[in-house]
């Protein structure tokens, strides 16, 4: 029987040269390894398609009353950097930032008129603070702001329309007398009283929400709606001969 000779040199001896060799072997092995590009690309395409589907589903679910000067909603969601500088600039803490529950609007600024409305500052500090142009610097006069439109959503609940003197929304409006007018007419039931009906002028209303905030009802009868929800559009073929002004 031949006895195998034991090798004299020990291959596992930890010298500097061995360590360097091991590191170099590792680098060579890593550079031979290829990242699986095809599953990666396939996964991205499928994942991306799902993401597009989800986002399209979430789009336009809810109206957010944006701060003054905000671009149209789809442009706003495409540009707002969610930095909260408009909220920090607001002297009334009116501007809130959307929570994750708001889906794709997460982190974007909005105003809850019933909590704290927009007081429509003369100098519009929120627009000045915006770094992304999502609150357009082109709006320099507060009369040109168009955040939404105030609408009397429930004529049966509005106490002014029941013949009581209220005028609270009319008085709260920062564009007093321009955006909300009081139209009065005789009270048909009593015959000797008047009804003072608040009427919103869509051309002047900026949608700040002060009227919604001020409404004395438990649930307001006047609310700020999005332009799309509030406005009708007449067919272009109509010609109104009696139109004044």
């Amino acid at each position: 029987m031949v006895r195998l000779k034991q090798t004299v040199e020990r291959p596992d001896e930890d010298t500097y040269e061995r360590r360097l060799e091991r590191v170099q072997e590792h680098v060579a092995a890593m550079s031979r390894r290829r990242f699986l590009a095809i599953p990666g690309i396939l996964g991205s395409v499928i994942g991306g398609a799902f993401a597009v589907f989800e986002i399209e589903l979430l789009k336009g679910k809810k109206f957010h009353l944006r701060p003054p000067g905000a671009l149209a909603e789809e442009k706003f969601l495409a540009t707002c950097l969610r930095c909260g500088q408009c909220a920090q600039a607001c002297p009334y803490n009116s501007v809130r930032l959307a929570a994750a529950e708001e889906g794709i609007a997460i982190g974007t600024p909005y105003i809850e008129a019933r909590r704290i409305p927009c007081y429509l500052c003369e100098d519009l500090p929120c627009i000045k603070a915006c770094p992304s142009g999502s609150l357009s610097k082109e709006i320099t006069d507060r009369g040109n702001v168009k955040m939404g439109l105030a609408v009397i959503v429930d004529r049966q609940a509005c106490i002014a329309l029941q013949g009581l003197r209220c005028e609270v929304c009319y008085r709260a409006c920062p564009l007093l007398g321009k955006a909300i007018a009081l139209e009065f007419r005789p009270h048909e039931v009593t015959g000797k009283h008047a009804i003072f009906e608040p009427v919103v002028n869509f051309d002047a209303c900026v949608g700040c929400g002060l009227c919604e905030h001020a409404c004395i009802l438990e649930t307001p009868a006047i609310k700020v709606l999005s332009l799309a929800d509030a406005k009708g559009l007449m067919g272009r073929h109509y010609r109104i001969g009696t139109k004044t002004g």
Partner: protein, 297 residues
């Protein structure tokens, strides 16, 4: 936090500097909400630093592809940030600035403490390793989905945005100088925090800093910036004994492979965050920060 490296017995200078930077960034953004001193406003997405407007470059890039419109002031604000990270190292953002990174590092610390307390020595626990290339696919995906849907996509699920809003915008009223001191209090204190906590729990259980290493599209963006960055780690082989203690501490070990194999002098891979843990852990002071020009190896 162990302030001395067990092998090199050196004071962990860079770890201390890094923690100080991470905490200062959070403190910096809290200055206005807590004191009303308006030197610095905004959050990690975009900010106004003493009148200088800066913005997260990936957010701005997304906004450009989503809106198909270039708003020059935002582009300049993003450019300033890119130039800054071209100087100090792309993913230095991840190591020194990102508030979510700080949170996830805390989750790693918990993981290490639990493993140390409850398992036999040398047990490392579960550690799922994915490909570091994954995040580049996510970066491209995020930009593509932004372009198709017209909605900034990363912002929807970004734990960085959620963390920054939870800290900066929920802590106090947005404007402490305002007449009405109601808190904004909706930004982060919501299901959004579940994203943050969920990632942290996943990392603590299965994979150390998995978000930062494999997933984060912003990390991928800064990784690309990092390839051209000027400040990089240089290895000097004269005293190096190849003990590999540097690699054992490195959060992205593969970045040290080629420099250690003597193939190149600098750590050139973008995933290096310039965190300096290799420098602190080297017993022979063979690693140092040095100026690297983009074409140098």
């Amino acid at each position: 936090m162990i302030l001395r490296d067990p092998v090199s017995e050196k004071f962990r200078k860079w770890l201390v500097i890094r923690r100080a930077a991470q905490i200062s960034v959070v403190g910096m953004f809290l200055l206005f909400p807590l004191t009303g001193v308006a030197w610095i406003q905004g959050n990690i997405g975009a900010a106004n630093l003493f009148g200088l407007s800066v913005a997260d470059p990936l957010s701005v890039l997304e906004s450009i592809v989503a809106s198909r419109r270039v708003y020059v002031p935002a582009l300049i604000a993003a450019g300033i940030v890119i130039v800054f990270y071209l100087a100090v190292g792309g993913r230095a953002y991840c190591g020194y600035v990102c508030p979510a990174g700080l949170f996830f590092e805390a989750s790693s610390a918990v993981r290490n403490a639990v493993l140390k307390a409850f398992s036999r020595p040398k047990r490392t626990g579960w550690n799922v390793e994915l490909s570091p290339h994954l995040k580049y696919y996510l970066l491209i995906g995020v930009l593509a989905v932004s372009a198709v849907t017209g909605v900034m996509t990363f912002e929807i699920f970004s734990p960085i945005g959620i963390a920054t809003r939870a800290i900066v915008n929920d802590f106090a009223p947005a404007n402490p100088n305002a007449q009405n001191l109601e808190r904004v209090a909706v930004a982060g204190a919501s299901v959004g925090l579940l994203v943050l906590v969920g990632i942290a729990l996943f990392e603590a259980a299965f994979s150390k800093q998995a978000w930062c290493r494999f997933v984060c599209p912003l990390g991928a963006f800064y990784s690309i910036v990092g390839r051209l960055s000027l400040l990089r780690v240089r290895i000097d082989h004269t005293d190096c004994a190849l003990c590999l203690n540097c690699q054992s501490d490195c959060p992205a070990k593969y970045v040290l492979d080629r420099p250690l194999a003597k193939e190149q002098e600098f750590v050139t891979m973008g995933d290096c965050t310039n965190c300096g843990s290799c420098i602190d852990s080297c017993p022979s002071a063979s690693l140092k920060f040095a100026l690297r020009l983009p074409w140098q190896k």
